[in-house]
Symmetry: C2
Amino acid sequence: MVDLPFDVDDPRLAAAAWSRVAEPPDQHAGALVDNLGATEALGWLTAVAAGRVDPGGEPWVRAVAGWVPRLENLDIRRELDTLDRLGGRLVLPGDPDWPTPLDDLGVERPLALWVRGGAIVQGRAVALVGARACTSYGEHVAADMAVGLAEAGTTVVSGGAYGIDAAAHRGTLGVDGVTTAVLAGGVDRLYPVGNTRLLEAVTTSGAVVSEVPPGSVPSRNRFLARNRLIAALGAATVVVEAAWRSGALSTASRAAQLSRPVGAVPGPVTSMASAGCHRLMREQGAVCVTEAAEVLELVGVAGEHLTDDDRPVPAGLLDDLDPAARRVLDALPLRGSAPVTNVARAAGLPATEVRAALGHLELAGRARRTGSTWARSR
Amino acid sequence: MVDLPFDVDDPRLAAAAWSRVAEPPDQHAGALVDNLGATEALGWLTAVAAGRVDPGGEPWVRAVAGWVPRLENLDIRRELDTLDRLGGRLVLPGDPDWPTPLDDLGVERPLALWVRGGAIVQGRAVALVGARACTSYGEHVAADMAVGLAEAGTTVVSGGAYGIDAAAHRGTLGVDGVTTAVLAGGVDRLYPVGNTRLLEAVTTSGAVVSEVPPGSVPSRNRFLARNRLIAALGAATVVVEAAWRSGALSTASRAAQLSRPVGAVPGPVTSMASAGCHRLMREQGAVCVTEAAEVLELVGVAGEHLTDDDRPVPAGLLDDLDPAARRVLDALPLRGSAPVTNVARAAGLPATEVRAALGHLELAGRARRTGSTWARSR
């Protein structure tokens, strides 16, 4: 017999309770709450737990058996009090500040978000993730990209971990951009401890967010589950550095499952910290991205954020010439001058065509006539 | 009136003469020699030059006007003597040692190859190219790849230039592999001068090759023309390092035009020497390649050269477990032990399932029972 000590008909309490009862991602809980609403679903669960209702088929028997042990001693008001003391708030699907991109997760959509800070996402978001064990190159690139994304008004989403995640948050904060950290454990204990200051700063920017209530430990499975939220919040996911096997790759593959573009930052082939990025490009069709503008191209509507193809490049001597003029200029002696017939022979072009090309080159200041011979202009 | 001082009915002399008369790539010369044969084509040209025959339409008038100046003082026996003194040989389309991949160039196929050394290609060839102004990273990767390709019995083709080309040749020579250099100028003057020793060593391995006769200077246009030969000789072309604009990119785009796979080696996004490689991946669909095995995959028949997906990686604690066992192991306390009901609550799984998983974990040596509680195995 289960008798919950809080008002199970309060939809916010019921939703919060579900985020404690079901271990994410839980497709059965997602489907149940989607279809019945959190309060009715919780009523059904307590009735099943009390033996008053039959749960239905085998999958539901199994799901309920996973939930029931967590009904014991469940008083979600405690976790909500903790959140309240931290100045946080609960955000539920359908709330005005619910990030609707999460709805693409379907029945794996989180049942609630426990939030410290401001808006979870402002405008468009990009997930910038990568290895904890990164190199200074990776940190540098992550921070640089975060700066560029933030300056373009993009929210930078990451996981609050050491390494690439921290560099992404820091880079964004450095230009007063908006950055959000999605944690695997409760938002009451900012994890990892060494990033406490950083994550506190994140709460003053975007938000620190979790789908599990305060008090929940950041277990391995929760890191994997959390990665789907990062992937879903980002209009694209970019992996900055990742070893051949890395949690960041799971975020990338969740993004790909959601049909979100995935970018990978190249690095030296001699760096194991880039092996996962190269693997993503080779095996998963990730797009090679080297700067923020290229990331924005991934998420922009067509033409909105094209990279600058006119970026300054050293102009070659023959660049702006038509093929014939190029051959003629090429055929002019490096020193001294030559008559048209010699130039024609060297160029392998008709003399008439060589004469015309020399005229153009003269006008362009690339060749000059001296009597009956031609020379390069200096 | 043109009167050539050599036997224009000798097919080898005629073909050699055409390789002097037509500036490559010359589609008219290619089509003419393909259709009439070199001797008849040369006879036709001298007749046109003498005004005895009408060249035909405007394009042919134009082509002939480019060839005629080079008929003056043409005695191709001089160039063949030079080649002979260098121990070289002329290789023509249809000869037993003609590299048939060049035939894919159609009317831009070279009219002759002036060769110093042994076989131009032995077995399968890969073109390994890149910037002259490369970094030590690029040199290192080029040499490494060349070694891997050579050890797999692949001929490494490059352009004999400083930088990446030289590293590719050197790497191959270092393991007694087969490497071939395609020069833009004549094979009598090994260019660049600083690579003379290296190119002499290349002649003892594969070959040093040019489509223009001895005495021809390596002009800019000839470098571009030469690049198509490198691209055509390689079953794939790999660019190791290249600036945003680089001659190596022209080789890559010729390879793509020939439907040959193109690989690009990633590098730091902060290195301008890798910008062209990243551009190839982003804009031209080049495949990211990080080692010789991945290059071999580009050229291999299916399954022949798969990279080793079982390359050693650090095994994670949860790697070889099914999802339920993983959650249960994750839910066991880090220190001390816990009864099944607690583990079930932490895992969010039914107690029956937890008991089964604990049994498996015990057999696998990952968990141990102490009385009625369970703990992680150390």
